[in-house]
């Protein structure tokens, strides 16, 4: 639904004339007028207020009893008193009451020093208590999950965590059990509270009842400093504050940015910081010496890596999703200018495996048109949101919360068109399944149904979806994954035209790239077929990831430059990549963990920076440039990425002129036309959306030349008849949120690292005689993977899904579109 109109009204608080927007709560209006009203349970991000803690009582003229200001909307002409004797007495009484069962173990409590209960007791409490009865006792501390500890004695029953679980993340796990003074927060049957967003309850808790296990007793508020940064572990790029003590990140807190994250963080962003300070991390350059990677000096490592210059024209560069724009630009310059090769790719998983061909430059340019870009808040206020070939829970988890918020609070209609059932299935108004890899064809069929080229004969489901998009309101936001491929992208261009998305402010597209900074790297020119800013290339287009692997395996490419990625681990077709890396004479990698491919095949490994150490910029999927800032010093001998790349380029014969991180940024701004005139000050802490800047007109989308090939055969929904006939299942892959090296080496996230699961439909499970939870073997061409079967009702018959990016039994091992499943 579109954003509501705002009407300003006038009221009086403590004798002050206050202007407020109609419908805001009294406590917020008072805050604007610098009148402080204490509260615990109120949190506007959690939706409707509950008035549970009774701390915010105020006197309103005309109402005989005291009112909770957190749940009283302002009215024109209201006269409010917050400091009368009656209010003061009530506040004293509430504090005394809340402390009846509070253990007051502040010296051992992690919240001590940053605790609202401490502050409010100090500011509004009486200072003593009349209660001499014993307090209630619970077993403490108790692990609510391996990540969160619960101390029920400290709980003041404010409902914040329960509301988060019930209304924000909608995992429905936290509840209140028992009644009255016996009430306590728990999960059903005492199960651990394991959910992708569970860490947020720690930050929400106004007392020390919920504390983070990894931060337990690590530091006190006066021991620490906050460093603002951006999490680059996924494309959501949530704004965070790193809590730093003694040059070590101790915890990560959300930094509320309405345009990006709405103040929430996923558990990966919140707890994977531990990977920065573990022994597994590489902090010295390594060079392979007699078959073994040994620590060495930077000088030797750079000298060895400068051997890339000897492979001029035969170097393939793979850029990991966490690279900053500046690093992307430097890598593209190194590859194109110094090494004479346009074989550079940052698109990762996209356009490989069962997904369609990568989105070509001309289509990417059209889809990146400033008028077509939806912002993150647009998701919340759209009429209809369509998920096309993506699952926000795994691809960009914080957008999953944004969609839930839109559906729950603003009546957004959600439509899903994916192969694999998403986490948002229950919130969707309409869902269309397609076979794995059929998203592109589904999009094409949808485009035809919308623009009316095929009026009759469209299948009912697609016609219904087309009707919802066309007639359900003008503001349509489409979130799509890069896996829709060239065909899907061409169809998307047609859909956007037919729905006139470019003409509406609140409508548009958001692409969820495979890499965290996928959009920025494309704009910086780290793709084979476009220069910086979607510009034309001087020479012919280079090879993409899959072709680089093939060329390396056949010897056409003799050296590989891997920036922040291990293709054996991350990319499809492990066997091919193993062959490619074995055949390459020189493999230069920048990495923080030695994953399989690097440990076995890398010649030189430079230690890479973490996102808390980096200085640079990244681009959010909605076009927001955000700044990474240095929160902690580089551990060990780690050097900044830009410095390593500039030095490597110099040794390969290219003087980049980058002597400082700012130089790299200035080169980026000069190279990308739509960034023109941008300064780091302008980006600041909240970022700048370039599609909103006047310079965005420098990107002329033009007409796409790629049309997506011949007319699609079928609509992508029906599984391949040939595959289904012999009992084989059509394989689809997805990248789970937790399948990342960072999670594997973070001590407290290890329990979340996924094992392979085979998701299949109930019908197929019955046919194959496989129960939910059974151990199965997935076979294909002699490759066998072990997996646990998971029967999901949303999965289409004939399809099955496996996770990729795992250390063992990963779907990356498989290359064919179908699999055989048997019980183990």
């Amino acid at each position: 639904m579109p954003r509501p109109e705002r009407k300003t009204i006038q009221l009086t608080i403590d004798g002050r004339e206050v202007q407020a927007i109609e419908g805001t709560m009294l406590v917020d209006a008072a805050k604007q007028a610098d009148v402080e009203i204490p509260y615990f349970c109120y949190e506007p991000k959690l939706g409707n207020p509950v008035g549970a803690c009774r701390m915010c009582l105020v006197e309103i003229e005309g109402i005989p009893k005291l009112q909770t200001s957190c749940s009283t909307p302002v009215k024109d002409g209201m006269v409010v008193h917050t400091r009368t004797e009656r209010v003061r007495h009530a506040q004293n009484a509430v504090v005394e009451f809340l402390l009846v069962n509070h253990p007051l173990d502040c010296p051992v409590c992690d919240k001590g020093g940053e605790c609202p209960l401490q502050d409010i007791t100090f500011g509004w409490g009486l200072g003593h208590s009349r209660v001499i009865e014993p307090k209630r006792h619970f077993v403490k501390p108790l692990a609510l999950s391996p990540l969160v500890a619960i101390d029920r004695e400290r709980c003041i029953l404010c409902y914040r965590c329960v509301r988060f679980s019930q209304e924000i993340s909608e995992d429905y796990q936290l509840i209140f059990t028992e009644r009255g003074s016996h009430a306590f927060v728990a999960t059903h049957d005492g199960h651990p509270y394991v959910a992708p967003f569970s860490g947020n309850i720690v930050e929400l808790c106004p007392v020390g009842a919920l504390t983070a296990q990894p931060y337990r007793f690590r530091a006190r508020p006066w021991d620490i400093e906050g460093g603002a940064g951006v999490c680059t572990l996924c494309p959501s790029q949530c704004n965070v504050t790193f809590t730093v003590r003694d040059e070590k990140v101790m915890r990560v807190l959300a930094r509320d940015n309405e345009g990006v994250d709405d103040g929430w963080l996923c558990d990966k962003g919140r707890f994977a910081y531990q990977a920065i300070h573990v022994d597994e991390r590489i902090t010295r350059p390594l060079v392979r010496d007699a078959g073994v990677l040994r620590p060495t000096s930077w000088e030797r490592a750079l000298e060895a890596a400068a051997g890339l210059a000897r492979h001029r024209g035969r170097v393939g560069t793979i850029v990991g999703g966490q690279a900053s724009n500046e690093e992307g630009l430097l890598l593209a310059r190194l590859s194109r200018e110094a090494l004479g090769s346009s074989d550079i790719d940052s698109r990762g998983m996209a356009g490989s495996g069962e997904a369609g061909a990568p989105i070509p430059a001309d289509l990417a340019r059209v889809l990146a048109a400033p008028a077509l870009q939806a912002s993150v808040p647009d998701i919340e206020f759209a009429h209809t949101v369509l998920l096309l070939g993506c699952d926000p829970r795994d691809d960009a988890p914080i957008l999953d919360l944004r969609i839930r918020k839109g559906v729950r609070r603003h009546g957004v209609r959600l439509a899903i068109a994916t192969a694999r059932p998403t986490a948002l299935e229950a919130n969707a108004k309409l869902g269309v399944r397609c076979e794995p890899g059929g998203e592109g064809r589904l999009a094409a069929a949808l485009a035809q149904a919308i623009d009316g080229t095929v009026d009759a004969g469209a299948p009912a489901e697609i016609a219904e979806l087309a009707q919802l998009l066309r007639d359900g309101g003008e503001d349509v936001v489409i979130l799509y994954g890069e896996r829709i491929g060239a065909e899907g992208a061409a169809a998307l261009v047609r859909i956007a035209r037919a729905l006139r998305l470019a003409e509406r402010d609140g409508a548009g597209l958001i692409c969820l790239p495979a890499g965290a900074n996928g959009r920025g790297l494309r704009e910086a020119g780290a793709v084979p077929d476009a220069g910086p800013g979607h510009g034309e290339l001087d020479g012919p287009a280079g090879r993409g990831c899959a072709e680089i692997a093939e060329a390396a395996a056949t010897g056409e490419i003799t050296a590989l430059h891997l920036f922040g990625t291990d293709p054996v681990r991350e990319l499809p077709d492990r066997a091919l990549w193993r062959r490619a890396m074995r055949s390459a004479a020189l493999v230069v990698a920048h990495a923080s963990v030695l994953t399989e491919g690097l440990a076995e095949h890398a010649t030189v490994v430079f230690p890479a920076e973490s996102h808390a150490e980096k200085d640079g910029t990244v681009v959010h999927p909605d076009g927001r440039l955000q700044r990474l800032r240095i929160a902690i010093a580089h551990p060990g001998e780690v050097r900044p990425g830009w410095a390593v790349l500039a030095e490597l380029a110099r040794r390969c014969g290219l003087e980049t002129g980058v002597r400082h991180a700012v130089d790299a940024f200035e080169q980026l701004v000069a190279a990308v036309p739509v960034y023109e005139g941008l300064t780091l000050e302008e980006i600041g802490g909240g970022g700048v959306r370039w599609p909103e800047r006047p310079q965005a007109s420098a990107l002329a989308p033009g007409e796409p030349t790629t049309t997506g090939g011949e007319a699609p055969s079928g609509d992508g929904r029906a599984p391949d008849a040939a595959a289904a006939s012999n009992g084989a299942l059509r394989l689809g892959t997805y990248r789970p949120l937790w399948a990342a090296p960072e999670c594997e080496i973070s001590p407290s996230l290890k329990f979340l690292v996924p094992r392979q699961r085979l998701e299949l439909s109930p019908a197929d499970a019955r046919r194959l005689g496989i129960d939910d939870g059974a151990e199965v073997v997935v076979a294909q061409n002699g490759t066998r993977l072990n997996a646990t079967a998971v029967v999901r009702t949303g999965v289409q018959e004939g399809s099955a899904f496996l996770a990729q990016g795992l250390a063992a039994d990963s779907a990356n091992e498989l290359t064919e579109p179908t699999i055989e499943v048997s019980a183990r």
Partner: protein, 182 residues
């Protein structure tokens, strides 16, 4: 023209010359007065304290080197738990920023203090400490108190960083306490 114009002639006015007696008193009088005190004290005997063989006694509330405390037990072989829970309030109160506390969690196998947490690292940089006693006042468990020891000089600065073990150890009582009425 300035309001005060002394003119070009300066006239010097001198005091009258003193006589012989008055002159002699002027030379030796004050010296003798001082010597009077000296001769009066000579009969009292020397009060010099032969430091370091002898020490100045201190008052009971003298703020010397800090001590950390344990709960008392009757069994000397089995010392009590540490009173310090590692809450770091002393570090917060310290105006010289000389206290560093790193807390850790007690486990059933390794119970160090009575609470959930204990101080895994407790260091006081005595070269920076100003002996104000705020840490003692801030401590909610009376775990840290100011002792009477004032002999803390050492040859290197790093030796002046006292660790938890040093602060917990029973100090060698080198400083006499001033007795009542002394």
């Amino acid at each position: 023209m300035s309001p005060y114009d002394p003119g070009s002639v300066v006239k010097v006015i001198r005091a009258p010359a003193p006589g012989a007696v008055r002159g002699a008193y002027r030379v030796f009088g004050e010296t003798l007065r001082g010597l009077k005190t000296t001769f009066m004290r000579v009969v009292e005997g020397p009060i010099t304290i032969q430091y370091p063989e002898e020490k100045t006694p201190v008052y009971p509330r003298f703020r010397g080197r800090h001590k950390l405390h344990r709960f008392e037990t009757s069994d000397p072989a089995n010392p009590g738990l540490e009173k310090c829970v590692g809450c770091s309030l002393c570090a917060a109160a310290c105006p010289a920023d000389c206290i560093r506390v790193v807390a850790a969690e007690n486990t059933p196998d390794n119970r160090v203090s009575a609470g959930e947490r204990y101080a895994a690292v407790y260091e006081i940089n005595l070269s920076r400490c100003i002996f104000c006693g705020y840490c003692e006042i801030a401590c909610p468990f009376d775990a840290i108190t100011m002792g009477h020891d004032y002999e803390m000089s050492d040859y290197t600065r790093s030796d002046l960083i006292f660790t938890k073990e040093m602060l917990l150890a029973e100090p060698i009582e080198r400083t006499p306490l001033r007795r009542e009425g002394e």
